[in-house]
C-alpha cells in the first residue's frame, strides 16, 4: 500500500538515515499500519469539528517579566561541540 520510495522521502524529511534492510522493513510496517487505518479514512466526518485539545480551564497569558536563564554550562554542558560561548555545528553545503 505504501508507495515505492515513500520511506526514502519521509526519512529525508525527518532527517533519519536508514540502511537498506531498515528501509525495507519500515516500508512494510508503514504499509500495514496505513492499511489498518484505512477504515478511519472512510468514515464520513466532514461535518465534525476537530478536537485538537482536551485541556480545560486554561491559564492566562504570562505577564511580560524577565528572569535570568540558565548558566552556559547548565544549558549547553551536554553539547557535542562548543566554540567559546557559541554552540558549534557542522557547516552546510550551499544549497542547504
Amino acid at each position: 500500500m505504501a508507495e515505492h520510495g515513500l520511506v526514502a522521502r519521509l526519512a529525508a524529511l525527518a532527517r533519519l538515515e536508514l540502511d537498506e534492510a531498515e528501509a525495507a522493513r519500515l516500508e512494510r510496517d508503514l504499509g500495514a499500519i496505513l492499511e489498518h487505518v484505512e477504515r478511519l479514512r472512510a468514515l464520513p466526518l466532514a461535518e465534525v469539528a476537530a478536537t485538537y485539545w482536551t485541556a480545560q480551564a486554561a491559564q492566562d497569558m504570562r505577564p511580560d517579566e524577565s528572569r535570568p536563564g540558565l548558566e552556559l554550562d547548565d544549558a549547553l554542558g551536554c553539547a557535542a561541540a562548543r566554540s567559546g560561548r557559541h554552540l558549534l555545528v557542522p557547516g552546510m553545503r550551499e544549497d542547504q
Binding site: W53, R67, G69, A75, R85
Partner: protein
C-alpha cells in the same frame, strides 16, 4: 521593462521590544554575550513547554489595528516544522490559519494602497554564523517575539515596495513595539516578485528574495530582479519558482535553493498552547489608546502649514515629532520650529551631537528661542549660537543667552558705536558703498555681526551703516 507589470508582495518581520521572550521569561535583549539569555524552553531542551507572553499578543493586536486589520476573536498557534541549527525545537511556533489580524490596508506615501493579508505572531530563531570550522550558533535571539506582516502582491515597483516597508517600520516605531533597528536585524523582509504582461490578471511564478535588512538593498535587488525576469521572458524563457539571494557588491541576485520540492513544513495546531479568545472590549481599549500613527501625523503637520519636505523630516521619527509638538506647544510658530528642527538640529543629530529621543534640552526652549527671534529679542545668528550651546549642555535659552552675552543690543547708541568702529576700519568698503556698490553692504553687515557676535539684528545694522555712510 515595457509591456510588463511588476508584481511584488512583501513579508515584513519585526522583532518586538518586550521585556521577555515570546514563550519563556528569558530577557529579550540585543547585544549580550552569546548564549546568555537562554533557558530550557527557548533552547528546546527535553521536557520544556512554551508559555505565551501577554505583551507579544497585545503588540500584535495594536499593529493589526494600526494596519486597519480585523482582529480575530479567537486565535491560536501552529507548529512550522523544519530542521536548522538556529531552530532549537526543530519547529517554529507560528500562526497559520487563525492569525491575530487579517484584511488590513496601508497607504504608501507616494504610492498606492496596499492590502495587508495577515498580521501573525511567532518566535524568532537564534543566530547562526558560518565560520571556518563549521557554523556557530547564539540562541539569545531564539524565542524573541516576531510579528510577521504579509502583504498582498499589490506593490508595483521596487520604489513602492521600499516605501511600503519604510512605512510599516514607521508605524512599528510610532506604536513603540519595536526599536526597529535595521542594523541589528530587528526589521527584516522577504520579497516575492514576478512579472506579467500589462493588463493580465494572472500571476506568474515568483522569485523569493529572503532576509533583507536594508531598504536600499531591497530596492536594488528588486530592480535587478525585475529586469532579469523581463530579459528571460523576452528571450522566450520561463521563470521557475525559486529563492534567490542578493549580492550587493556584484549587484546581482543569485539562485539559492534550486530544489525540486519545496520544503514541507507539516503545519499542525500547536498542542502545547490552547487557542485563546481575544476580548473585543480589550481590543477597543487598545484601539482608543493608539498613538498618532505616521499617516495621521503627516496630515496634522500639513495642516499646521509645514512644507511637504518638512513634514517628511519631522514625521520621520516619534522623537522629532514629540520634540516638535512640545516646542510648538506654548504657541511658538510651527513653520519656524520646523525650520530649526529640519535645519540646525537635524545637522547636529547627524553629527551625533543631538538626539531627538533624548534631547539635551527641553523642547520648550526651542519654542522660547523661536519666540525670542520673532519678537526681536534675539537675532537669528545669535539664536544659532544659543541652540548650539543648549544642544551641548542643556539648560534654558535664557541662561544660554546670558552666558553667551548675546542678548540683542537694544541701545542704539551702542550699536552705532560698533558700526562706526567697523566703518572706520573698512575704509575701502565704505568708499565702494559710497560709489553705489550696494553689494558691499552685505559684507559690512557681516562685519558688524562678527564684531558684536550677532547681537545686532542685520536689518538694524544695515540701516545704521547706511545712515553713517550717508553722513
Amino acid at each position: 521593462m515595457s509591456g510588463f507589470e511588476t508584481v511584488i508582495g512583501l513579508e515584513v518581520h519585526i522583532e518586538l521590544q518586550t521585556e521577555s521572550k515570546m514563550f519563556c521569561s528569558c530577557p529579550n535583549r540585543f547585544g549580550d554575550p552569546p548564549n546568555t539569555n537562554i533557558c530550557p524552553v527557548c533552547l528546546g531542551l527535553p521536557g520544556a513547554l512554551p508559555r505565551p507572553n501577554r505583551a507579544g499578543i497585545d503588540a500584535a493586536i495594536r499593529m493589526a489595528l494600526a494596519l486597519g486589520c480585523t482582529v480575530a476573536t479567537r486565535s491560536k498557534f501552529d507548529r512550522k516544522n523544519y530542521f536548522y541549527p538556529d531552530l532549537p525545537k526543530g519547529y517554529q511556533i507560528s500562526q497559520l490559519d487563525e492569525p491575530i489580524g487579517a484584511d488590513g490596508r496601508v497607504e504608501v506615501p507616494g504610492g498606492g494602497e496596499v492590502r495587508v493579508l495577515r498580521v501573525q505572531l511567532e518566535e524568532d530563531a537564534g543566530k547562526l554564523q558560518h565560520e571556518a570550522q563549521g557554523a556557530v550558533v547564539d540562541f539569545n535571539r531564539a524565542g524573541v517575539p516576531l510579528l510577521e506582516i504579509v502583504s498582498a502582491p499589490d506593490l508595483r515597483s521596487p520604489q513602492e515596495a521600499r516605501a511600503y516597508w519604510e512605512e510599516i517600520r514607521r508605524i512599528a516605531l510610532a506604536l513603540g513595539i519595536s526599536d526597529a533597528r535595521m542594523e541589528e536585524g530587528s526589521v527584516r523582509a522577504d520579497a516575492n516578485i514576478s512579472l506579467r504582461p500589462l493588463g493580465s490578471q494572472e500571476l506568474n511564478p515568483r522569485v523569493e528574495i529572503k532576509n533583507m535588512n536594508s531598504f536600499r538593498f531591497l530596492e536594488r535587488a528588486l530592480a535587478y530582479e525585475a529586469e532579469r525576469q523581463a530579459e528571460v521572458y523576452r528571450q522566450g524563457g520561463r521563470i521557475g519558482q525559486e529563492t534567490r539571494g542578493w549580492d550587493d557588491p556584484r549587484g546581482v541576485t543569485f539562485s539559492q535553493r534550486s530544489k525540486e520540492e519545496a520544503e514541507d513544513y507539516r503545519y499542525f495546531p500547536e498542542p502545547d498552547l490552547l487557542p485563546f479568545a481575544i476580548d473585543q472590549g480589550h481590543v477597543e481599549e487598545l484601539r482608543s489608546s493608539l498613538p498618532e500613527l505616521p499617516r495621521q501625523r503627516r496630515q496634522r503637520l500639513l495642516g499646521l502649514g509645514l512644507q511637504e519636505e518638512q513634514v517628511r523630516l519631522v514625521a520621520e521619527s516619534r522623537g522629532r515629532t514629540v520634540f516638535f509638538d512640545q516646542a510648538t506647544g506654548a504657541g511658538a510658530d510651527a513653520g519656524e520650529v520646523a525650520k530649526w528642527i529640519c535645519g540646525d538640529l537635524a545637522r547636529l543629530e547627524n553629527d551625533g551631537r543631538f538626539d531627538f529621543d533624548r534631547p539635551a534640552f527641553p523642547a520648550g526652549e526651542l519654542g522660547e528661542l523661536v519666540r525670542s527671534v520673532r519678537e526681536g529679542d534675539l537675532t537669528g545668528p545669535a539664536a544659532k549660537q544659543v541652540l548650539a550651546l543648549l544642544a551641548e549642555r542643556g539648560g534654558t535659552a535664557q541662561e544660554a543667552v546670558r552666558e553667551l552675552g548675546i542678548g540683542r543690543i537694544d541701545d542704539l547708541d551702542a550699536v552705532r558705536a560698533e558700526v562706526r568702529a567697523v566703518l572706520a576700519q573698512e575704509t575701502k568698503a565704505v568708499a565702494d558703498l559710497k560709489t553705489g556698490k550696494q553689494q558691499v553692504m552685505g559684507f559690512l553687515v557681516g562685519q558688524v555681526m562678527r564684531r558684536t557676535r550677532g547681537r545686532v539684528a542685520p536689518d538694524v545694522a544695515s540701516r545704521l551703516i547706511a545712515e553713517e555712510v550717508g553722513r
